[in-house]
């Protein structure tokens, strides 16, 4: 699982990935590699196919997630990314984070579905905007990767917030 996920799936290494093509590739490769296809093969081949099938599934999972896709693109440029490796968030973003966290904490108690829906919609909009910005940044080969890392930190925050909000939604209704 150390190999490049774009290569594992045979897709172009871009942030704005064609998700339909990605799914198609995943299906094509699964048809070849899935253990069911090797149920009557020898053990060596079964093991080999299983290993590759896992690699392809992991690459698929990685590329479907925009945060992990960005990390894979940065890795191709030789840039390490990950929690704590990104530049500190600007104060304005931190302020926004705190306010929204408080709102979410209140909703957890009040169980206000409407307010939760509104908050989720708001953050989803921000998340989409950041993704569009990342897409422009990745298209620019000259851009300093520190700029990308800053954006990525922001995307990470929005995605995690949405996960938590979704978990609360699961419990509420």
């Amino acid at each position: 699982m150390t190999s490049d996920p774009f290569e594992a799936l045979g897709v172009e290494p871009v942030f704005n990935l064609d998700l339909a093509l990605l799914e198609q590739r995943h299906r094509d490769l699964s048809r070849t590699l899935h253990p069911d296809r090797h149920a009557v093969s020898g053990a060596a081949e079964r093991r080999r196919a299983l290993g590759r099938a896992i690699e392809v599934n992991e690459a698929f999972r990685q590329l479907k997630d925009p945060v992990r896709r960005a990390e894979a693109l940065l890795a191709r440029r030789g840039v390490q990314s990950g929690e704590g490796k990104e530049p500190p968030a600007p104060p304005a973003l931190l302020m926004e984070v705190m306010e929204r966290r408080e709102a979410l904490a209140e909703i957890r108690l009040s169980k206000d579905q409407v307010a939760l829906g509104r908050l989720i919609a708001e953050v989803e909009q921000d998340e989409r905007r950041v993704r569009a910005e990342l897409d422009r940044q990745f298209a620019d080969a000259q851009l300093d990767s520190v700029e990308i890392l800053k954006k990525l930190g922001q995307l990470r925050y929005y995605r995690r917030f949405l996960d938590e909000a979704q978990a609360i939604a699961d419990d509420l209704f």
Binding site: H26, S30, R31, T32, G42, N57
Partner: protein
């Protein structure tokens, strides 16, 4: 016990088994169509009930059911609810007639006096009976696909596979029930599209969203509750009946009384499917009868909270798949409990469309299992099932949280790694706790395994590094490996979640189950090795046909020698170990070649859409269509 004769000319027939909470079914594929086999009860449905007589006799099915009210503690029904559960699990405290061996053991054991069978052994009795029926009708039975609820966790799956092994079955695959149902439907009307499978059985609820495209059944998300089903509806009714009968506390609720109420509740539930009202005679405390009346409206109101639990799981599954209900092409009903009229109307309200139930919801899962068994045995490439991990897998972190290594709904087979570090100076051991579930605290998740990695050289905190890899196979079974990577030294521990039975225990049970113990076991091992060898010889011949150009001359000579040795071992040896050794030698000789062949196949798949591939995929799609027509709904 009679061992069926191994006749290489009569091809073994693969079977599919739906090991249900209430009923179990075995089916196989005849002339391309799934057909149920008749069980010892003379019908396709074998009640999943096992009676242990005081004299040591074991009976299964309807004849066992007849003991339910006479000897309720010795007559085990709904054993599936106890699979993979520990002693003292909440499941053991629900309304029911059984006594359990107390304590903190890893598996639930039923307390029958001298005998204390585990849930695995009880399930194995049901599987043995089904296998015998299959052998009677098909002569030579090959591998089996056994279905499990999609929402079963790792311990429940391991327990099911163990039951299959104890029953002497070659378990080809554990298949998720909703996926099996989708396969059986073939979804023939719209061969491409998104479908939801709503599966409410006797003891479990599953919801699965899947996409069918070009012969690939791809599960998008799955959810559910492995302790929610028709039994709970019975309990709702039985609870009220018991109160009416004057048995309202633990003292008056003897196993016999509870068993009578549960049985009456089941009858009332079934009657309410056709009628708006039902009246039953129940015995009253202190003698005499009372008439208990029940309307469908009452029943509907009592089960509403249960239905809402299914609704929550459905909404979450849709959200996980990133879909709205309106995007679905259809909703399929599976499981006997979906016969309840309120369940059908609830599903219709939930998804905004009338559900499909053309295939008998009791048989559809076994049909799917038989189709999958047939596809696997023939190594067919018409259809491919891509399933997902139902519940997240993780490691307990400092402070009792969970670090999720593989999130739920990851396509399987799957693997992922995470790195951990020491938190104290000179720490020489790691305690790892593997858990499964969605809750934030490890203590609220299912504990799968605990293990300790020791012998780490003393280093300052944060310097030692431990890499933990999770590996989930196509049966959704987990294995964990931990490597300690300090200063170039590495240490590996292989962990199979130890919940339930060890391999030795399973082998012991298998030997005990055979009349001539060790001798029969050895014979079976030899037969298994011969089957495996025949399979590998065929596969290697096929590989020579297509990929001989990838071989170096010396490599080829070595493989041919290994092939000759294996053929000799198969035809002349009476020792399983010799055949097994020859298989291992061939395996070793073909190892590098297998890698090169795999790369070639991958290149072909990625190169994708050249003209040849397009033609092939068109031909493939046509094949799938033909297949679906053949196996489509009756």
């Amino acid at each position: 016990m009679l061992l069926d004769i191994f006749d290489p000319k009569a091809p073994p027939q693969a079977i599919g088994i739906d090991l249900g909470t209430t009923n179990s079914i075995v089916a196989h594929v005849r002339d391309g169509r799934p057909v149920p086999l008749i069980t010892c009860d003379g019908s396709p449905l074998l009640p999943s009930v096992v009676h242990y007589g005081r004299e040591g006799t074991v009976v299964v099915g309807r004849s066992a059911l007849s003991y339910a009210t006479r000897e309720p503690e010795r007559t085990i029904a709904s054993v599936k609810r106890f699979m993979g559960r520990a002693a003292g699990d909440s499941e053991t405290t629900r309304l029911g007639a059984y006594k359990f061996v107390p304590g903190e053991g890893a598996v639930v054991r039923f307390d029958l006096g001298k005998l204390t069978p585990s849930a695995v052994e009880v399930s194995a009795e049901i599987l043995k009976s089904l296998k015998q029926s299959a052998v009677d009708q098909l002569q030579h039975v090959g591998g089996a696909v056994i279905t499990v609820p999609a929402y079963f966790d790792d311990a429940q799956r391991q327990a099911t596979r163990d039951a299959g092994r104890v029953a002497g079955l070659e378990v080809l695959r554990l298949l998720n029930e909703p996926t099996a149902a989708a396969l059986a439907y073939g979804l023939e009307k719209q061969k491409n599209g998104l479908f939801a499978v709503y599966d409410l059985g006797g003891g479990t609820f599953d919801i699965t969203i899947l996409l069918l495209e070009d012969g690939v059944f791809q599960v998008k998300s799955t959810g559910g509750d492995s302790a929610l089903g028709g039994d709970d509806m019975d309990r709702e009714i039985a609870e009220r009946m018991l109160n009416a009968m004057g048995a309202s506390d633990a003292r008056t609720r003897t196993p016999e009384v509870v068993s009578i109420a549960l049985e009456a509740a089941r009858r009332a539930k079934h009657a309410l499917t056709e009628n708006a009202k039902v009246a039953l005679e129940l015995p009253k405390k202190g003698g005499g009868d009372l008439s208990f009346e029940l309307t469908r409206a009452d029943f509907d109101a009592w089960i509403e909270p249960l239905l809402e639990r299914t609704g929550r799981a459905c909404r979450r599954a849709l959200r996980d798949a990133g879909l709205a209900a309106s995007a679905l092409s259809g909703v399929i009903l599976v499981g006997g409990s979906t016969r309840v009229p309120r369940v059908r109307s609830y599903v219709e309200e939930l998804f905004g469309k009338a559900p499909l139930a053309d295939i008998d919801p009791d048989l559809v899962v076994a049909y799917g299992a038989a189709l999958q068994a047939d596809l696997l045995a023939r190594s067919s490439d018409e259809v491919l099932l891509l399933d997902v991990l139902p519940l997240s897998l993780g490691i307990e972190t400092m402070g009792g949280g969970v670090d999720k290594i593989l999130p739920r709904n990851t396509t399987i087979p799957a693997g992922a790694k995470a790195t951990f570090t020491t938190y104290a100076d000179d720490q020489t051991g790691f305690d790892l706790h593997v858990v499964q579930g969605e809750r934030e605290l490890a203590s609220d998740c299912r504990s799968l395994a605990r293990f300790k990695l020791s012998g780490i050289p003393p280093l300052p905190a944060g310097l030692a590094r431990l890499e933990v890899s999770f590996h989930v196979d196509e049966n959704n079974l987990l294995s964990v490996k931990a490597v300690e990577l300090t200063t170039g030294l590495s240490q590996t521990v292989e962990v199979k979640p130890s919940y339930g039975l060890t391999d030795d225990e399973v082998e012991r049970m298998l030997i005990d189950a055979l009349d001539h113990g060790e001798a029969d076991f050895e014979l079976r091992r030899l037969r298994d090795a011969q089957v495996e060898a025949t399979r590998i010889l065929l596969a290697t011949d096929k590989a020579f046909d297509s990929d001989a150009d990838l071989l170096e001359p010396a490599e080829r000579a070595r493989i041919e020698q290994a092939l000759t040795d294996l053929r000799t071992a198969v035809s002349s040896s009476t020792q399983a170990s010799r055949v097994e050794g020859a298989i291992a030698a061939l395996d070793d000789a073909t190892h590098d070649w297998a890698g090169r062949r795999m790369n070639r196949a991958i290149q072909a798949a990625i190169a994708g859409k050249n003209l040849g591939a397009v033609e092939q995929s068109v031909a493939h799609a046509a094949g799938v269509e033909a297949h679906l027509k053949k196996h489509g709904a009756q």
